[in-house]
């Protein structure tokens, strides 16, 4: 039986490879677990998302009611939706933690440039999942968040209006927008993300874990200090421990703080006071509040969007822009810390702002 299977499914090579695989072990090893955590949360999103699809109806007339039906009538529907919403938030947090840890530990260095770049694109896709999924319950907050979010695209010179129409499926945020973002959220983005995740994991497997330069220098002077643990079972068990911890946090959040549905969107009601986006867009939201209508004669929004776009571009191309010297690495740390500080400060400001 075993031989029959082995002939048709040659897994022994894979198992042998995993047996030989070792993972560096040092004082920064804890940061190795955030990539796996993000992957785990992504898988939870795929599972809970598939379940939600069985009852959800993507039209302006039925979306809100169908989510209401899921959370109030379908057995454990509230749990599935709540886990989907909370897991989305944890996934964004975990992806950001992964990005900044890789940045500060300089894991983007040669030969891992493509791993970093595919990771940045995956983070942008994660934010895209957040943005497109947000409208699906068709509630008041998500309706205006989508109007604002898509209108930001209008500031892009020349292509702005076409871009807004592409995102909205028309000139306004309507049922057409809902159907379109639904398509992005459940078909297009998952397809692209799955391919990219496979690519990202293949590269991680191919290159192995990066050892931070400081640890590398230490090891070079003292070869006895080189430490690593076997992937199977040591690292995998630690990974599983991290996943279990995440699952426990997720279950606690989803049951103790079920995700709220809010009021149904009304295209002809004013934006409600105190409206604000999800925490991971707060820094951008707060920045847009403080940018004056014109900056040096140029449309303020355009300046803000151009700066944020340039920031994303620099993040994407970081391994190609940063040199390999110690000074270049120090510059990367300072730039990363500055970005983190700016985003944290703006988020804190947004959280403490009381509606006038």
């Amino acid at each position: 039986m075993k031989a029959w299977l082995e002939e048709r499914l040659p897994l022994s090579g894979v198992i042998a490879m995993l047996r030989h695989k070792r993972v560096p072990h040092h004082r920064y090893s804890v940061w190795y677990y955030f990539g796996g955590m993000t992957l785990f949360l992504f898988l939870i999103q795929v599972g809970t998302g598939a379940l939600l699809l069985l009852y959800y109806r993507p039209s302006a007339a039925e979306a809100y009611e169908s989510v209401q039906f899921i959370v109030s009538r379908v057995p454990f529907g509230w749990l599935v939706r709540s886990i989907h919403a909370w897991s989305a938030n944890l996934m964004v947090a975990s992806a950001f933690a992964h990005l900044f840890s890789v940045l500060f530990l300089h894991a983007y260095r040669r030969p891992r440039e493509l791993t970093w770049m595919s990771g940045v694109v995956l983070l942008l896709l994660t934010l895209g999942f957040g943005f497109t999924g947000y409208l699906l319950p068709w509630n008041e907050v998500s309706f205006f968040a989508t109007r604002v979010g898509t209108d930001i695209a209008a500031t892009v010179p020349l292509a702005g209006d076409a871009l807004v129409r592409f995102l909205r499926g028309g000139d306004e945020v309507t049922g057409a927008t809902l159907t379109r973002l639904f398509g992005f959220h459940v078909a297009i983005l998952p397809a692209v993300a799955t391919v990219l995740v496979a690519f990202h994991l293949l590269l991680v497997q191919g290159h192995g874990m990066s050892v931070p330069p400081s640890v590398e220098a230490q090891d070079a002077s003292d070869p006895a200090a080189v430490r690593s643990i076997p992937f199977l079972p040591h690292f995998l068990l630690r990974d599983l421990f991290a996943w279990t911890a995440v699952l426990a946090v997720l279950a606690a959040l989803a049951t103790l703080y079920p995700w709220e549905l809010g009021a149904k969107a009304d295209p002809f009601a004013p934006a409600p006071a105190g409206i604000r986006p999800e925490w991971y867009f707060l820094w951008a939201f707060e920045t847009l509040k403080h940018v004056p209508p014109t900056v040096a004669g140029v449309n303020g929004e355009l300046v803000a969007v151009a700066v944020m776009g340039a920031g994303a571009g620099v993040a994407l191309l970081l391994p190609l822009l940063a040199g390999s010297s110690a000074r270049a690495r120090a510059a990367v740390v300072w730039a990363g810390a500055a970005a983190l500080l700016f985003m944290s400060a703006m988020t804190a400001l947004a959280l403490r702002t009381v509606t006038p």
Partner: protein, 148 residues
Amino acid sequence: MNLAEHGGGRRGVLNWLLGLSGGGVLASIVYPMVRYLAPPDVPEAAALSVNAGSAQALTPNSARVVPFGARPAIVIRTAGGELRAFSATCTHLDCTVQYRPDLHRIWCACHNGEYDLNGRNVAGPPPRPLDPYDVDVAGDEITITRRS
């Protein structure tokens, strides 16, 4: 002498033709997809004027948001009793504005933009004033009209 290494001659022409037809196939797949993604124009009757409800019911220092075609409009009765109407779409990032009786101003909750009762952007990020509409009252019915 291997022509393939040179890439010249007949083989070069054939490679070029193959590339051309390959590009043609790709373009004939991509072009319909791109066109498909751009939503078609759905013609809608451009509303020139709409009924904005009862004039009596709108008390001084209050406002009402009403549909004006596909977009919202705001009708305000000032503290002085005068009726005014504007487009209710914030010129900053497309949110729907509301009237703030405490400030005597039009306010956008999204990014804290403010407009005065002439629709002028007076505080916060809005870059332009709100479009004003003409207000007519016949009996108890308010009618607002886009200015041509």
